[in-house]
């Protein structure tokens, strides 16, 4: 049975990766998950300098989902290279660094540092809804995205370049096309959907940042639809995510067109969700006489 998939030149042992921000730097889950079994680990978003993040409360549970506004708290790329990268490198899995900056220059600097450090992939976060500058500012403006991606592309030699798209646009496939035209090796989608919740007794927002990003099973149908639309619009691989809780969800994303999938909020619900999903995809393939997981890609019958 062949579970391998390719994100351009990057070969993954299986299509299951972790979604940035939900798996820390891998280490946090090492008691529950044999990290070597994962297709890839996508680490928490990195910036040039450490970031403190937003005030509390940062999360709030909503029906079948959760809002978060962590504010990209992270240790900074320097500390990542010193302590976290060597740890993950002990495992037989691919490492994808998720990055974000306030300016194009910062994205370029980060990409070069990480590319030189030998990460397997760089995922550009141009879609975080919870910071004021950068992030979603690049991901929702076509001209800005074009400028950012072509500049970063020219500076990354070895790592596979992935653009993480925002669902907060009218036609996500148009942004995927820009990513493709600017030389992005793949697109990943969707990031969280901006949302809000209010405590009716105190009349205050449930999270300190006022708004946050919605994730979990509540957003899955939106994500599946966007993966489907994007798959039909571009030739580069699509990495699908958004509310994947089990193998059926993962397979649904692959049928919609995902070459690989990322598991996010499910890690919080079940710390070994990724491993369960890989195992159950194998069982599904065995039961349905599927010898190559790539057969599922975009195989939805319309």
């Amino acid at each position: 049975m062949d579970l391998t998939v390719n994100i351009r030149k990057l070969k993954l042992k299986n299509p299951v990766m972790t979604a940035s921000g939900t798996f820390g730097y891998g280490e946090e889950y090492s008691e529950f998950v044999d990290l070597s079994k994962l297709g890839a680990i996508v680490v928490k978003g990195l910036s040039l300098k450490p970031m403190e993040g937003n005030p509390s409360p940062r999360i709030y549970e909503t029906p079948c989902g959760m809002l978060n506004a962590i504010g990209l708290q992270n240790i900074g790329v320097k500390e990542f290279l010193k302590t976290k990268l060597p740890y993950i490198r002990k495992f037989d899995t691919k490492l994808i660094a998720n990055i974000f900056g306030n300016t194009i220059h910062e994205y370029v600097k980060l990409s070069r540092i990480l590319d030189d450090a030998g990460v397997d992939g760089i995922e550009l976060n141009v879609s975080c809804p919870n910071i004021k500058k950068g992030g979603i500012f690049f991901g929702t403006d076509k001209k800005m995205l074009q400028k950012l991606l072509s500049t970063v592309r020219a500076n990354v030699r070895n790592a596979v370049l992935i653009t993480k798209l925002s669902p907060n646009v009218s036609y996500i496939q148009e942004f995927a096309k820009i990513a493709e035209e600017c030389g992005s090796d793949a697109v990943s989608l969707i990031n969280t959907i901006p949302g809000m919740a209010i405590d009716i007794k105190t009349r205050r927002p449930r999270i300190a940042n006022i708004t946050g990003g919605l994730s979990g099973p509540a957003i899955k149908p939106i994500a599946v639809r966007m993966v489907y639309e994007t798959f039909r619009a571009v030739k580069i691989p699509v990495i699908g995510m958004g509310g994947i809780m089990n193998s059926s969800d993962a397979i649904e994303f692959m049928l919609a067109g995902a070459a690989a999938v990322a598991v996010g909020t499910a890690n919080f619900v079940n710390p070994s969700a990724t491993i369960d999903i890989i195992k159950d995809i194998e069982s599904f393939m065995a039961e349905n006489n599927i010898t190559d997981v790539k057969e599922l890609r975009g195989a939805v019958k319309i």
Binding site: G21, T22, F23, G24, E28, Y29, E31, F32, K44, E52, G53, P55, S56, P57, R58, I59, Y60, E61, P63, C64, G65, M66, N68, I70, Q73, G216, P217, M245, T265, N267, F268, V269, N270, P271, S272
Partner: protein, 269 residues
């Protein structure tokens, strides 16, 4: 080493006298896990959830109240108060049904020097986290326990049997023990026992306003104080950065660097 395992419910019953009173409903949950996890420290917690539905989606953190182990297997005990969707669902679960548990998690209370007799200050359901500390210290502690009203005081008989020094009960409405908050009681207690003013250790768990008041009191008197904090949690293992509290050294995770913090570290907002 923490584990993620399934556990069978062996008991899930109300623990206060009139559990139908609004806002006061509390339960004892006893679990028999499939696999015996590592023994916990007082102040550590478990995340508990079901996989019967996606709403509620996330597990909820609960302090470990008691832990037993025998040849047949271990048992984990929790006390919980009905607060929202998660605990409402949990109270409906019956003996023989299973839940998913993740733990033990967090740091737990640091142990005091042997020559000290610390004062433990619990508010409401905060008793669940401080009771195992009192047990571990063989009852050689002073215990101040307060709640809004009589019906919210739990495990009083067990406490009476355990605490070897002063045990002072208080309620905001005066329906049991002294009238007033535990912080009022703490103030009176130390004024009446000036010889204890040299004591240098407080432990506290309870609602956030109470912890803030205890922390301020400790700071004024120059007494070392450890408090157990609570925040909404998603992962419980330090990955999501959702449960942070503001400290003098930046944001720290309640699930990983906490839930127990030296009170002087916390920046109250």
């Amino acid at each position: 080493m923490s584990k993620y395992i399934r556990a069978k419910i062996t008991e899930n019953t109300p623990v206060n006298k009139d559990h139908t009173l609004l806002g006061c409903e509390s339960y004892r949950l006893v679990l028999s896990p499939d696999d015996i996890p590592q023994r916990s420290l007082p102040g550590q917690f478990y995340m508990i959830g079901t996989d019967s539905s996606y709403d509620p989606l996330l597990k909820r953190p609960f302090s470990i109240f008691r832990e037993t182990s025998s040849a047949e297997g271990g048992e984990l005990q929790f006390l919980y108060r009905i607060k929202g969707k998660g605990t409402k669902l949990l109270k409906e679960m019956r003996k023989g049904e299973t839940v998913n548990v993740l733990g033990p998690l967090g740091n737990g209370y640091p142990m005091p020097d042997k020559n000290l007799t610390p004062v433990l200050i619990a508010g409401g359901i905060g008793i669940a986290s401080l009771f195992p500390l009192a047990e571990k210290l063989s009852g050689n502690i002073h215990f101040l326990y307060g709640a809004r009203t009589k019906n919210e005081l739990l495990m009083l008989n067990e406490l009476k049997g355990l605490v070897k020094k002063e045990l002072i009960i208080s309620t905001d409405d005066g329906s049991e023990g002294e009238k007033g908050t535990v912080v009022d009681v703490l103030n009176r207690f130390l004024t009446l026992n000036p010889q204890l003013s040299t004591l240098n250790l407080l432990y506290s768990c309870g609602p956030s306003p109470m912890l803030e008041a205890v922390s301020k009191f400790a700071a004024e008197k120059g007494i070392k104080c450890y408090i157990s904090m609570e925040e909404s949690m998603a992962c419980g293992v330090g990955a999501c950065l959702g449960c942070t509290v503001k400290t003098k050294k930046g944001y720290k995770r309640v699930c990983k660097e906490g839930p127990v913090f030296p009170s002087e570290e916390i920046v109250w907002t």
